[in-house]
Amino acid sequence: MTANAWLLVLLQSVLFLLGAPLLVAWVRRVKARLQNRRGAAWSQPYRDLYKLFGKETLVAHTASGVFRAAPYIVFASTLLACTVVPLITVRLPSAAVADVIVLVGFLALGRFFLALAGMDVGTAFGGMGSSREMLISALAEPAMLLAVFTLAMTAHSTNLASVIDHQLASGLILRPSYLFALMGLVLVAVAETGRIPIDNPTTHLELTMIHEAMILEYSGRHLALMEWAAQLKLMLYGVLIVNVFLPWGIGTQLTLPALASGLLFVIGKLLLLGVILAVAETGLAKMRLFRAPAFLNLALLLALLGLLSNVILEAGA
């Protein structure tokens, strides 16, 4: 049982690793269709990664060891964060290793090294990207913590598996706190994964880029790891939203049918989320950097409202 369960953790990591580029491809394709383009093939993100892994890796003369270590730390911490979010089943032993606060900590660890790597080469772009990234994350991280605290206060647990269990057990109740927390988390996810309207993943325009500015100096396998980590992060936030707030369909037993249906459900939910993301990105324009704090403050307020409505209206219920 336990050995099988830990095998499942391994399987989930592989699903995340393989699924993340696919989710990106899906969003790009839907976006292309919405913009009357044909778009690239399904396999394009995989091909990009494969190409980068085979290319020569360049490191600037001015870079130190932090620059070379950062891709591995970013990748490892993001993947580790992925292993603790229940993907197809709630019976995930790794959820006990790290609860949802630790999950936020993993993402912060990756971001810390990403920002350091941006400053390491000593060019203006890297510093600019790091500075902006830390501003955005400084506002987004508390909003995210508050959103998950809302769940934790209802379920009386910060363990993600227990939170989902509690959600499933209590059935479909429309709680105002959940709604606020969900909205807050969606805004945070948009900001943290560098999507429009905060950042544009396809831009290399000097004055507007954030994430791309930090990884501008990377190439070859280092760049591949950074790109893969970013894709993992997108999928991670997607799974967090669909599985924690709308957990229906997720496997509650360790049987093959339950797992298969869990997989099907989560794929369906993620595809739907991808469509919503593509539509939103097509309809919205990127904001100026100094409008972003207002956006994130909204997220923070929504999450706080969720938490307050939970403790005032719902606690004890």
């Binding site: 360049l58 580790l80 609860d99 400053m119």
Partner: protein, 671 residues
Amino acid sequence: MNPTLPLSLILAYVAVLAALGSAVGALATGRLPGAKGLMFLLLGASGAAAVAAGLTALASAPAGGELPLGLPWLPWHVRLDALAGFFLMVVGVVVLAVAVYGPGYVRDFEHGQDPLSVLGAFTGLFVAGMLLVVLADDAFLFMVAWELMSLSSYFLVVYQHEQAANRRAAFLYLLMAHIGALSILLGYGVLAAFGGGFAFEAMRGAALSPLWASVAFGLAFVGFGMKAGLVPMHAWLPEAHPAAPSHISALMSGVMLKVAVYGFIRFTFDLIGQIQWQWGVVVLIIGSISALMGVLYALMQHDLKRLLAYHSVENIGIIFIGLGLGLIFLATGHPVAGVLGLIAALYHTLNHALFKSLLFLGAGAILHATHERDLERMGGLLRRMPWTGFYFLIGCISISALPPFNGFVSEWLTFQTALQSWQLSGGVLRSLIPVAAAMLALTGALAAACFVKVYGVAFLGQARSRRVRRARPVTFGMRSAQGFLALLCLLAGIFPTSLLQWLNAVPEQLLGRGLSAATAHGWLWLTPVAPEMASYSAPIVLLALVLLWWLSALVLRRGRVRQVRRCDPWDCGFTDGLPTARMQYTATAFAQPIRRVFGLLFHVDEKVEREAGGMRHQLHVGDRAWELFYVPVAQRIQALSRRVTRLQRGNVRVYLGWSLGTLLVLLWLIS
């Protein structure tokens, strides 16, 4: 003394005597060869003995004794229980590291104009004072030791007195330390009046009315809060801590503030005893504000030591958030959550002592190697001082509360305490605690931003000044002291459960119950309340991180192209030269977006002037606490003293008349 003196007390006496011996030995430096070595050896022995005493005390029952000193009717009482033992250990660890670090660092001062003997003597007295505060079991010894600590640290702050800024900082420190001490003294006065004695044993038995208990609590909170550097009583801290030599800054920030935390815990949890939840609310609010304002002001600094000093305000705030939560839960009858809050605060106390000392020692190493404190002139130090750079990175990760290092564990425990607020019945309390948790989350994220700035500007990139370009690694002793603290940071992050087992003795002796559930599932699992509520396994996390790193590196090394080629950084296609060091982002530029977003909280003074041959940009970010709290008070005092000067007539008969009047009033009063 009685022959069956317990081991822990013997060790504690040894620690105090060794610190005093180090002070005496220091007086011989410059006259006798080897006195400097002896001074630091004794200081190290004092630290080691204090650690041993602390660990022994944590594992055994409280031990008390009397010293053949003090007033005739009031001998000095000492007592070493788990709480005192824990703080002895915290003091000892940092003193030990400082003693290893010191010989290399003070080399700069040996040929300077300030005698080394003064520095050494007051360092010894300072350490002895801190140890005695923790050991004291009556208000009299406590206040004597407290003053010893305050006064000797004043002389350490003013050590480099040639600079006017240092003298000014030291005077401000002296002034505020004494206002604080007065407040503490009055607090003890209240307890002594009701308890009928100055011994802590008598104070514990004092039957206080709720009002008088609140008065005593308020006085103690102001007094200890002033020493700990809570907002708005923090103004001395960012001035005084950077002024002292760096290893003393490490002691002041790492340990002296903790002694104030000790005083607060002893006074509130132990001596007063009957806790009211309103106190917890006050502590929680002040703690949250301190944490947030501390980190925001830290972000605005570009003097490295000043920045670290503001981070001490932040971390003290986090400790007081934990204490405030503990007070609230204990007073409302939720002992498990209350003990958890106290444990979280104690854990953060230890962590802050470790990583803040580590960072101050790192800042001292930079100062020693480059004579620079200004971040804007640093850069690229990682390549020139690789070990210091590596240890400093560990300090940065720890203070930014990132897993799997120690800062994360204590913040995690604090969050877990805050998440117990569903147990409370009052709507106000239940909504206040989440807001405090939000401020703590914001603080943590901003601290990470601040340390990306510090590390990125100081250690990464290219050198911004000639002196930094010529930096050389520091001595082995200085490096090993940093390495020692860095290792402890890692260990305290990875084995929180084992550490909690030791810590558990504190609430068990203080409150009569521990946190048995937290350590019930073996050293691998940390489960503060119950495993289904929250769990964290730091060893597995570290193992998984290292394993994933190793695996991905292993897979990639087998790729088609193995070699890494060195090249020039991307120069945007310009042909005339590479990016220079001046094109890098500076510390001020890095923090500019945050300054803009939180602009209302700072006193920003920004000027752009046109000059011949270009523009000149000036920026000064001031502390709003000055204009809000200090300037009005200073103005009141000045106005009052101006009124008093009316008495000053210059006529001796008038003065004689005043004297006679005073005498008559006094006679009437006592008769």
